[in-house]
């Protein structure tokens, strides 16, 4: 038996020392409270540079960063579970944030709804437009009628397509996606009444492999213009361009990924809205609890036209965009038939894009005539 043997006592002693070290570390004052600047937190469900939904929000955050007296915090890849609760609390309690933009649709219920009453002095601005008067007053929700820009996409696609066959890669058959598919198809059929849109649902918001497969099979079926509604359009844009098809973008501009094949795109305009909201918050002005808008309110914008867009297409698209901006143009106007032959919107009826939400528009569950595809019952 030598003196170098290790005893239980020594093990316990070391463990205690490690524990004490950790406790000491915990009590050290690492960082003092942040300065007087207004701290604004942005939370993304995916990567902030995804060429899609999250990048559009990150561009808005970048615009806020340029403002004086504002400190911006960003956190990406935050899933829709207890993690987002903890991220919101951490931004508030550890970093002193007073205005939060948790940007993913799924953050709202139950996470934001439960956090807001706990922090009555903090403002929660959520993208998705779900707030109702029974919800906490320190929550605001905003959303854009981006299907207006998809309608303009459709017009450009109607001009550009030679086969009259268009393709749409979609995540889930929910109202916000169906609005886009229908508005795009109606736009294309204004130009070519025989045009069809074949739609493929991938089942989830970020499915790169399935999105590539869907794009390929659409093009194999004769489609020559593709658009999409998934979180990151990157894969669809690159696949379509590689196959020689043309593409209309979504969420933010993907022109850099396919400069020749990119026709135009439906983009969010958060770079306008976010600095506006932050200014209102800093001045103590009330931010509306429910805010909606399209081209007219400046919540959305159209990507610059690509080289393959003809002069005639530009002119027609610009006309419709101008009418939408003036608020004189309704996309879902009866009579509209769905693709099973049933009347979807009766003659004389209009589903108007306005801040007072139209239930028929918000609960859309049909595919217009000209869309090839089916919805789950």
């Amino acid at each position: 038996m030598t003196g170098k043997t290790i005893s239980r006592r020594r093990v316990l002693g070391s463990a205690a020392a490690i524990g004490a070290g950790a406790a000491l570390g915990a009590t050290l004052p690492f960082r003092s409270a942040s300065a007087a600047a207004t701290t604004v937190g942005f939370i993304y469900v995916g990567p902030h540079d995804d060429f899609g939904y999250n990048q559009a929000h990150a561009q808005g955050a970048a615009a806020v960063k340029k403002m004086a007296g504002v400190k911006v915090l960003e956190e990406e890849n935050v899933p829709e579970d207890v993690a987002v609760t903890k991220t919101m609390e951490s931004m508030i309690e550890q970093d002193g944030a007073s205005l939060l933009f948790p940007t993913s649709f799924g953050y709202f219920d139950p996470y934001i709804l439960r956090e807001a009453p706990k922090f009555p002095k903090v403002r929660f601005e959520h993208c998705g437009g779900l707030w109702t008067p029974k919800d906490p007053k320190n929550i605001g929700s905003y959303f854009g009628y981006i299907f207006e820009a998809q309608h303009v996409n459709g017009i450009v696609a109607g001009f550009a397509s030679k086969s009259g066959r268009l393709g749409f890669v979609a995540a889930k058959p929910i109202p916000q996606v169906l609005q886009n598919i229908n508005a795009f198809t109606l736009g294309a059929r204004l130009i070519n009444p025989q045009a069809t849109t074949r739609v493929i649902f991938t089942g989830d918001w970020s499915m790169p492999v399935k999105e590539a497969e869907a794009t390929n099979s659409l093009i194999d079926g004769g489609v020559d213009v593709v658009t999409m509604h998934v979180d990151s359009p990157k894969v669809v844009v690159q696949t379509a361009a590689k196959r020689g098809a043309m593409v209309c973008g979504y969420h933010c501009s993907q022109a850099a990924l396919a400069p020749q094949a990119y026709l135009t795109g439906a983009e969010w305009n958060w770079t306008e809205l976010y600095p506006k909201f932050v200014t209102m918050w800093m001045k103590g002005e009330p931010i509306p609890n429910f805010y909606r808008g399209g081209f007219r309110e400046g919540l959305i914008k159209q990507s610059p036209y690509g080289p393959k867009v003809s002069a005639a297409a530009r002119q027609r698209a610009d006309e419709v965009k101008a009418a939408l901006t003036e608020g004189k143009y309704v996309i879902f106007k009866g009579p509209l038939t769905d693709n099973t032959g049933t009347v979807a919107v009766a003659a004389g009826q209009e589903l108007i894009q306005s801040n007072a939400t139209d239930a028929k528009l918000e609960e859309m569950h049909f595919l217009v005539e000209g869309v090839l595809g089916a919805l789950p019952s």
Binding site: Q94, F105, P110, D204
Partner: protein, 371 residues
């Protein structure tokens, strides 16, 4: 001879500790110090990694401590993130005792949560304890049967359980999506297809005075129970024999099939219970949000703990702490979210590699052979 006896007199007496205990103490020290060493080495490597990325490793260290244990808020954040991992880790660790490599915790978690939601919606009008018991039973049984499926395929059809349990994850997620977007959908959930609510009144609250839900104590108790089952019961002993040497286990007539099915069922039940707790403590409705990745993180926990349910407790806290501090690293140092994944990966590889040094370090060997 005189010298010998003098030496014998001079030698210290073992003072109540026999040679076996000394050796046992050394083994225990080895079991603690080897992974601890691997952990320290991982942190050094991670420091090197962030330094290459142009970030001050000491600042990273500071924020990691601040984010994981630096305040009461941080501690609660860590513990909340650790809670589900305790249970999903068992889904890999328990079948591993019988020699099976199950990675189907995610599927069992999802199926457990979904079944609990169905029970919760069905028992919406019942008293809270009844509803809670129903949801718990549904989560446990459904999760258990889900993984038992992989065990049965293994035992009776010879299907590789790793592959089948992995594929069962995808099937579970597909079933979840099909149901919440179809027959089990709340018609009011327009743009986020979800099941009806189980009712706020039927949800499990948090531990009084904290923000931590009851999943944490439940997870710790279940881990302790699993440890006792494995180490201190005949069933656990038989399972470990089956896992260690299948032929020997057959020779002595152990009921292999029953042991395989039991451990798979219990592992799946633990993950199913985690899914039920996620639903009843956090999410309130079943939706695609139930696909949390906790099932996959559980595999990491089980491996880092070398399939020991007792060691899983500190390991889950460690991973919870890394997750909790990830936000600060992103926000203040501009490190991408992937940085914490890199750290987890380094730890994983180091712990697996450290397996090779067990029994080879002279320090511990001298302890064993001394006397």
């Amino acid at each position: 001879m005189l010298e010998d006896s003098a030496a014998a007199l001079a030698a210290p007496r073992p003072r109540g500790l026999g040679r076996r205990q000394w050796a046992g103490g050394a083994a225990a020290a080895e079991a603690v110090l080897v992974p601890a060493g691997a952990l320290v080495l991982s942190l050094l490597l991670f420091g090197l990694f962030v330094a290459c990325a142009g970030v001050d490793p000491l600042a990273v260290c500071r924020y990691m401590i601040e984010g994981s244990v630096g305040s009461w808020f941080a501690v609660q954040n860590t513990l909340t993130r650790a809670a589900p991992l305790l249970l999903t880790g068992l889904c890999t660790a328990l079948p591993a005792q019988a020699g099976l490599m199950i990675i189907g915790g995610e599927g069992a978690f999802v199926i457990g949560g979904l079944s609990a939601a169905m029970a919760g919606v069905a028992l919406h009008g019942a008293a809270a304890p009844v509803a809670l018991a129903g949801m718990t039973a549904a989560g446990i049984v459904a999760g258990g049967l889900w993984v038992a499926l992989a065990g049965a395929l293994r035992h009776w059809r010879g299907v590789n359980e790793t592959i089948s349990s992995l594929l069962l994850n995808y099937i579970a997620i597909a079933i979840l999506n099909q149901l919440v977007e179809g027959p089990f959908r709340d018609p009011d959930s327009l743009n986020k297809p979800s099941s009806p609510s189980i009712g706020y009144g039927h949800m499990i609250g948090t531990i009084p005075g904290t923000e931590i839900h009851w999943g944490l104590p439940v997870g710790i108790v279940v881990c302790l129970a699993a440890y006792v089952l494995i180490r201190h019961t005949t069933v656990g002993f038989a399972t470990r024999i089956a896992g260690g040497n299948l032929r020997a286990a057959r020779m002595v007539g152990l009921p292999i099939g029953r042991l395989v099915m039991l451990t798979c069922f219990l592992g799946g039940a633990a993950a199913g219970l985690a899914g039920m707790i996620e639903l009843a403590a956090v999410q309130e409705r079943a939706s695609a949000d139930l696909v949390t990745g906790y099932g996959y993180a559980g595999i990491l926990v089980a491996f880092l703990a070398r399939q020991n349910p007792l060691a899983m407790i500190p390991v889950a806290f460690l991973l919870g702490g890394i997750g909790a501090s990830g936000g600060l690293l992103q926000r203040h140092l501009g490190l991408p979210d992937a940085a914490t994944v890199v750290l987890q990966g380094i730890i994983f590889v180091m712990i697996l590699a450290s397996d090779a040094v067990y029994g080879r370090l002279p320090w511990f060997r001298r302890a064993e052979t001394a006397g």
